[in-house]
């Protein structure tokens, strides 16, 4: 390759941080103001918090749907809801919690944290980051618009054909879901690309793979998982939509369709998805526990390997959702075996966390309470999971409340508890204010006791034979008192969530000011002020170990000393450093995109495109499709300020 002309290279000056430098960077990185700034921002910190708020609103909506169902099920023969309303509520509860809450909330934390944890200034693709959030928001609005159209998805979150086909479900209900999911898939995919490339290319010099915080491993692993798995569900829903609207024959039994094809495509995605919505939360706990145990995580390498191994194995167990469909014996044996094996990496993480607490000196804060109870929930979820991995047991438990208990211990226990631990831990970094500990603890005990009161009895409800998705049951079944316990528990838990909200509102406006590192934590995000400046780091940090802020206390872990207040200055426009994938060696200076309205316009046009498809407005759809492409064209127009063209504008 010919030598690079000097104008395409630069040797960054190595200087200490000065107030003058900070002032200059403030001017460079300051986002736009007003409406234009609001719609055009690409700042990962703003977008991460928006992601978290949006996902939390969906959590509340899904929670209200759940409470309505619990009122209906509190006793036998209730008439609070009609059967159709009940179908819509359990479908929307599942869709909301699994798709619109569980991953987006973790993405929100990761988007906020990724650049801060790796010593970067933004994600690899800041405009794509904004696009991911807009599309996520609009896909949620798209699916929820079904309430206004009077056609709410009603065939359950995994909506099996033939029931989900037009013949049995003629309204637009399932079309809202199908097209909304394709839209959400676009958001998930672009978000995942951003995480993977950010992880691989933007880690600070010296941050080799084995020095990377565990949450980055969790989110990057599941992002690769998303790239492999999301196309399956987007395709599944697209084929479903074709079946429903254009008379194709993928899933119907007439003319050679196969209902089981849906189940394969859906679970090929949705089982990996189960790990996708818990591994980042496990990563958060792996990073939070050591801070409150005042020691490094026990078995860092094993935990990281277990994370990756869980994701890989997660692609080989999808048929365990289909044990009751009459598939061949060999298939049952293989997938049952694989489902047992996946407990091994999970157990590795559990023992690592327990050992970290055991050998540490725990400081009991609210974040620690959530992180440590996470382990208990994880064990309960794991044990009921092993039970259902066994084919003979599963044939009994399939489609009963036992499975509901299991999946709620998984999703609430291993996702929500991790998220709340993360909220109490990183809230000071996000807002610059502390959360009130006393209220936090009261909220914790409400959530913890309410959750277990609601879902532990569900195992027994299932063993007593209560099937899923029934809108009521007769008195003679004898399930009344267990269901009453679950209903009471769910309201206690809801009260706990309400207290969390009060806690957050109180902390946001009246909380004590937070220092840069209120928990005395070891990782890079705590080296900057709370909240961080727009440019995150005034000079590029260089790290020498896994715990840059604990250096000197751990003895011999790091090679040399990390350098955080003295380093390469990148201040000719928005810039950040790109490093090599494995070892984090400096490669190039990357230009970071300015605020842009194109991601918003592209989302608007694309959502319109999907809405037009929904209503069969062919020409409108075609026009909006072209507008979407044009937005993409202007978005990607090569710019001198981004170092994409021959003209050099470098000042």
């Amino acid at each position: 390759m010919p030598e690079l002309p000097a104008r395409y290279t630069r040797e960054p000056a190595i200087e200490p941080v000065t107030p003058d430098l900070r002032e200059r960077l403030d001017r460079i990185w300051e986002g736009g103001s007003g409406l234009r700034g609001w719609f055009g921002t690409v700042d990962h910190k703003i977008l991460g918090i928006r992601y978290i708020i949006t996902a939390f609103v969906f959590l509340l909506l899904g929670g209200i749907e759940a409470l309505a169902m619990r009122v209906q099920l509190a006793g036998p023969d209730q008439t609070f809801l009609t059967p159709e309303q009940y179908n819509e509520l359990f479908s929307m509860h599942g869709i909301t919690m699994i798709f619109l809450y569980a991953l987006p909330i973790l993405s929100g934390f990761s988007i906020f944290l990724f650049p801060l944890l790796i010593g970067a200034r933004d994600m690899a693709f800041p405009r794509l980051n904004a696009f991911s959030w807009w599309v996520f928001l609009f896909s949620g609005l798209f699916i929820y618009a079904s309430f206004f159209a009077g056609a709410v998805p009603n065939a359950g979150w995994f909506n099996y054909p033939p029931y989900a086909l037009k013949q049995f479900n003629p309204g637009m209900n399932m079309d809202f879901y199908a097209l909304g999911m394709i839209l959400l898939g676009i958001s998930t995919t672009t978000g995942s690309i951003n995480f993977v490339i950010t992880f691989l290319r933007l880690r600070a010099p010296g941050m080799s793979f084995n020095r990377t915080p565990v949450i980055l491993w969790g989110t990057t692993t599941i992002s690769v998982g998303n790239l492999l798995a999301v196309p399956a569900v987007s395709l599944a829903f697209f084929l479903l939509w074709l079946d429903r609207q254009y008379g194709t024959h993928f899933y119907g039994v007439e003319d050679g369709g196969k209902p089981l094809l849906w189940q394969h495509l859906f679970w090929l995605f949705a089982h990996p998805w189960v790990y996708i919505i818990v591994l980042p939360a496990m990563g958060m706990v792996s990073d939070i526990l050591p801070v409150f145990c005042r020691r490094p995580l026990v078995g860092y390498s094993l935990v990281v390997l277990a994370t990756v191994a869980t994701m890989i194995l997660g692609f080989g167990v999808w048929v365990h959702h289909m044990f009751a469909t009459g598939i061949p014996f060999l298939s049952l044996s293989y997938f049952s075996g694989a489902s047992f094996i996946i407990t091994i990496p999970s157990a590795v993480s559990v023992f690592a966390w327990v050992a970290t607490i055991w050998w540490g000196r725990p400081v009991i804060k609210t974040a620690f309470l959530y992180a440590s109870s996470f382990i208990v929930m994880f064990v309960i979820a794991g044990v009921s999971g092993v039970m259902t991995a066994s084919v003979p047991a599963d044939l009994q438990l399939h489609d009963t409340y036992f499975v509901l208990a299991h999946l709620h211990y998984t999703i609430v226990g291993i996702n929500l508890f991790g998220v709340l631990a993360g909220l109490y831990f990183w809230f000071p970094k996000m807002t610059g204010r502390m959360l009130d500990e006393r209220l936090g603890r009261i909220a914790f005990w409400c959530v913890f006791l309410g959750f277990n009161l609601a879902f532990l009895p569900m195992h027994w409800t299932g063993l007593m034979g209560m099937p899923r998705r029934i809108y009521t049951y007769p008195d003679a079944a004898g399930w009344g008192w267990l269901n009453m316990l679950t209903t009471v528990g769910s309201f206690v838990m809801a009260a706990g969530i309400l207290l969390v909200l009060i806690n957050v509102a109180q902390g946001r406006w009246f909380g004590r000011r937070a220092a840069p590192n209120p928990w005395d934590a070891p990782t890079l995000e705590w080296a900057v002020s709370s909240p961080p400046p727009a440019y995150n780091f005034a000079v590029q940090p260089v790290v020498a170990g896994r715990h840059p802020l604990w250096e000197g206390r751990l003895g011999g872990e790091a090679t040399g000393r990390s350098s955080l207040d003295h380093g390469p200055v990148l201040d000719r426009g928005k810039e950040q450093l790109v490093t090599s994938m494995l070892d984090g060696e400096p490669l190039l200076v990357s230009k970071v995109a300015e605020d842009s309205l194109w991601p918003f316009f592209a989302t608007l046009a694309m959502t319109g495109f999907f809405a037009a498809l929904l209503y069969h407005w062919t020409w409108t759809a075609a026009a909006l499709g072209i507008v979407t492409l044009l937005c993409g064209l202007f978005w990607n127009w090569p710019r001198a300020s981004l170092g994409q063209v021959r003209e050099v504008r470098d000042d």
Partner: protein, 209 residues
């Protein structure tokens, strides 16, 4: 817990990075890697499409295929067109690496034209079929699999045309040319996927007949 700020040395004299590349240069910017990730997920999409095809084909056997198996009258010329287009696009990328914008712009536009010819031939084959997308599950899969590929060819054509335009506007030189390499990467991917689609739709029916 005590509140401490980090303790780090205030001087580190040996910290030096040397000269670093600036901006999106020599296809080493983030964009090329982003495209690699997009190609990964798109490849999976086609894997799931072909999984659906084989799932049906293996369950039903010969009776599932139409009486007249898909032939090579159109599919071989289509394959030739795509392969040629890949070579042309490669020539275009090599052109810009040598600093020759005109060669690059013309070659990219030529590659796009070959892609359009491919779409036209495919549309002719579609019109030639005596079944529609709603005839049976084979016909649904035939049109969906080839249709998905066609949509990707159209996407690739749009990319090539955009990049050809930018090249013609003189935006790139031998080093600052990442969009050209990114579009070329995508175009080669669309060709490679065609090999899998071609083998599945046009070749395997004859093997298992």
């Amino acid at each position: 817990m005590t509140e401490t700020t980090h303790r780090i040395p205030d001087t580190q004299a040996d910290l030096s990075f040397g000269r670093l590349t600036l901006g999106s240069t020599d296809a080493r910017g983030n964009g090329w890697f982003g495209m690699a990730a997009l190609v990964t997920t798109e490849a999976c999409l086609f894997a799931y499409l072909l999984f659906s095809y084989y799932y049906m084909a293996l369950h039903y056997g010969r009776d599932w295929l139409p009486p007249e198996l898909p032939g090579f009258k159109f599919s071989i010329p289509m394959t030739a067109l795509l392969f040629t287009s890949s070579v042309v696009v490669w020539i275009g990328e090599r052109g810009i690496k040598q600093g020759r914008s005109a060669v690059c712009a013309i070659a990219l536009a030529g590659g796009a034209l070959l892609g359009i010819a491919f779409v036209a031939l495919e549309a002719t084959e579609w019109a030639d079929k005596d079944f529609t997308i709603s005839t049976d599950s084979y016909s649904s899969l035939y049109f969906t699999v080839t249709g998905f590929h066609m949509a990707h060819v159209v996407g690739g054509v749009i990319m090539l045309l955009a990049v050809a335009l930018w090249t013609a506007l003189g935006k790139f030189d031998a080093h600052r040319r990442d969009p050209v390499s990114i579009a070329a990467f995508y175009w080669h991917f669309v060709d490679v996927v065609w090999v899998a689609v071609f083998t599945t739709i046009y070749v395997t029916p004859h093997l298992f007949n």
